[in-house]
């Protein structure tokens, strides 16, 4: 019958081994040659776009890479689906936006800010998502 000492060894040993493997896989995932995100293509605009994305908690309604709040559309492939002009106009409008009755805050971004967000979405749309990219945004599917 299992003793308390053996049970403790199982806990400590199992935790240590799995955690070491986890760290190893993390290092592997971000090692050279494994990048699926086109990390080198991240420009200052993309970084500023990401900051705007966070400062306004866009993820509190939308999803991106499938992560967010499921209240507003997934935006990974939004440029494919709607086109740059449409997205930019929407980001810059000072008027509340209400597609099918669901309200979005009118952020009224400046031209530069809208361009930064577009650059961010553009970088996002090119990430290799292991097949999810063909599912995530059905209207963009046919273009893939």
């Amino acid at each position: 019958m299992l003793s308390k000492k053996q049970a403790r060894a199982f806990f400590l040993g199992g935790t240590l081994v799995t955690f070491l493997i986890f760290i190893g896989l993390t290092i592997f995932s971000f090692s050279e040659g494994q990048d699926q995100s086109n990390y080198g293509d991240i420009t200052e605009e993309v970084v500023r776009g990401k900051e705007l994305w966070e400062q306004n908690n866009c993820m509190g309604c939308h999803t991106l890479l499938g992560e967010g709040a499921y209240y507003a559309p997934e935006l990974t492939k939004v440029l494919d689906r709607r086109g740059e002009g449409y997205v930019k106009a929407l980001l810059m409008t000072p008027n509340p936006w209400e597609p099918n009755g669901r309200k979005m805050v009118a952020y009224g971004f400046s031209d530069d800010e809208a361009n930064d967000l577009i650059a961010f979405f553009d970088w996002i749309s090119k990430i290799d998502l292991n097949g999810f990219d063909t599912v995530v945004s059905p209207l963009a599917k046919d273009k893939n």
Partner: protein
């Protein structure tokens, strides 16, 4: 209660209950917004309500865990807390940070990273607060007469939870890396170290309520937390399938997260078996309800419903849909909310000296809240599955699908009303117990 300093736990529990009421209120704001009643949009847009709802959940559960630690550690270590005044300072600062964050969310002051929205400046205060808390708990344990496995597992859970908060504060230019390390915090909290906290509290309650020998209970506690980490650490991979990292996570995450229900199954079997084995008939039946309920509902909510969408083949379609909300609600309720309710139900009679655990209100609170939450889970589940089919198989537009599934949110709100009625009854009982007092020292029993 056996030690005067345990009284501080009461105030952490009271803060928990207060924040829970606020959390539910914001949940209703979101539920109504989804069926078109979004009159508060100007002041509380959905992203604000959502950030408040999820962050309050984290803060009220943490407050409950801290209360549990302040109650359990003195009793396990067999001595008073090292410094009660500092514990009250920690309570007040926790409440202030929580309130500041919630108010800030209404004024666009946040980080906008799912579950970790707390602004960076407040993050530092959180770290100081947690350090103070851990200092008090660890010093009490260190100076105590004994160091039990239950106390060690609970403390280890709290310590690791604090350490794992740090990766969430690393700055990244890449959304992929940001997301990757955000899950180090969120996943390794809820499917890792928080389970140590849950296991520690569960073990303490089972020892007290069933009278089964501590050695037996604590041995199985090690096995359960061992299984938790064995599956849960690499199970983090299920968040990495489709966010832009290597395919190896599809295999690793798939295998290990499929094992995650085992830890919860073990927890449920453990709790039920200890109850059957126990010869002691503790009069506080309602605490036993919540204790066993937590072990069983967490298996269903976290284990089974998690498994329902954890395999990469399924998750390819369910990732980023309401299916996640289905799993999230019952998992958090079963594993963490119910264990906090259990320790409160056990501790209150001992802290106040009033034995109100025989009333019908307590049982009604248990059943109403659980039936309500199961109903909510089903509503989210149906909405989620319909969303997956219409949006991802039939290629319908997002908002068209949202209109199709809005009826399920009417059901959600009705079930949420039932759930809320249960929680309100629980809180009425909480208030009826009155405040903790030193006379309870004499009347208290194990």
């Amino acid at each position: 209660m056996k030690y005067k300093s345990q009284k501080v736990a009461y105030w952490f529990f009271a803060l928990s209950m207060l924040l829970l009421v606020l959390q539910i209120t914001y949940g209703f704001i979101m539920g109504f917004a989804r069926i078109g009643f979004d009159g508060l949009h100007e002041f509380i847009p959905f992203n604000t309500a959502r950030a408040v709802h999820t962050n309050l959940l984290v803060v009220w559960l943490l407050s409950g865990f801290m209360g549990a630690a302040y109650y359990i550690i003195p009793e396990e270590a067999q001595r008073e807390l090292v410094n009660v005044k500092l514990a009250y300072v920690q309570l007040i600062s926790l409440a202030l940070v929580g309130v500041a964050a919630v108010i800030g969310y209404h004024f666009n002051w946040w980080e906008g990273r799912k579950f970790l929205e707390i602004p960076r400046q407040l993050d530092y205060l959180v770290v100081v607060n947690i350090l103070l808390f851990l200092g008090l708990i660890i010093a009490t344990l260190y100076k105590g007469k004994r160091k039990t496995t239950t106390a060690l597992v609970l403390t280890m859970g709290l310590l690791f939870a604090a350490l794992l908060y740090l990766p969430g504060m690393l700055p990244f230019d890449s959304q992929v890396m940001d997301s990757f390390f955000r899950w180090w915090v969120v996943h390794l909290w809820v499917e890792g170290v928080w389970e140590l906290i849950m296991g520690g509290i569960l073990s303490f309650l089972l020892i007290k309520l069933t009278g089964v020998d501590r050695e037996v209970i604590e041995k199985w506690l090690y096995v359960i937390v061992g299984l938790t980490f064995l599956s849960g650490v690499l199970g983090t991979g299920h968040h990495y399938y489709y966010i832009g990292v290597n395919k190896i996570w599809l295999i690793v995450g798939g295998i290990f997260s499929a094992l995650e229900p085992l830890a919860f199954l073990a927890m449920a079997l453990f709790a039920v078996n200890m109850y059957r084995k126990g010869e002691k008939k503790h009069p506080n039946k309602i605490a036993l309800f919540w204790t066993l309920g937590s072990a069983i509902v967490s298996f269903v909510g976290a284990g089974l419903l998690g498994f329902a969408h954890t395999l990469p083949q399924t998750n390819l379609y369910t990732h980023g849909t309401l299916v996640t909300a289905m799993h999230g609600h019952l998992a958090f309720w079963g594993a963490y909310a119910m264990i906090v309710f259990a320790i409160i139900s056990y501790a209150l009679p001992n802290l106040t000296g009033r034995k109100l655990y025989d009333g019908a209100r307590g049982r009604a609170a248990f059943w109403l809240s659980n039936i309500g939450m199961v109903g909510m889970t089903v509503a989210f589940g149906v909405a989620g599955v319909v969303q997956v089919y219409l949006e991802r198989k039939l290629k319908m537009d997002f908002m068209e699908v949202q209109n199709e599934i809005s009826i399920h949110f009417v059901v959600l709100i009705i079930c949420a009303a039932l759930f809320t009625a249960g929680v309100v009854l629980y809180i009425i009982d909480f208030i009826k117990y009155g405040k903790p007092n030193d006379e309870a020292l004499e009347i208290s029993e194990n």
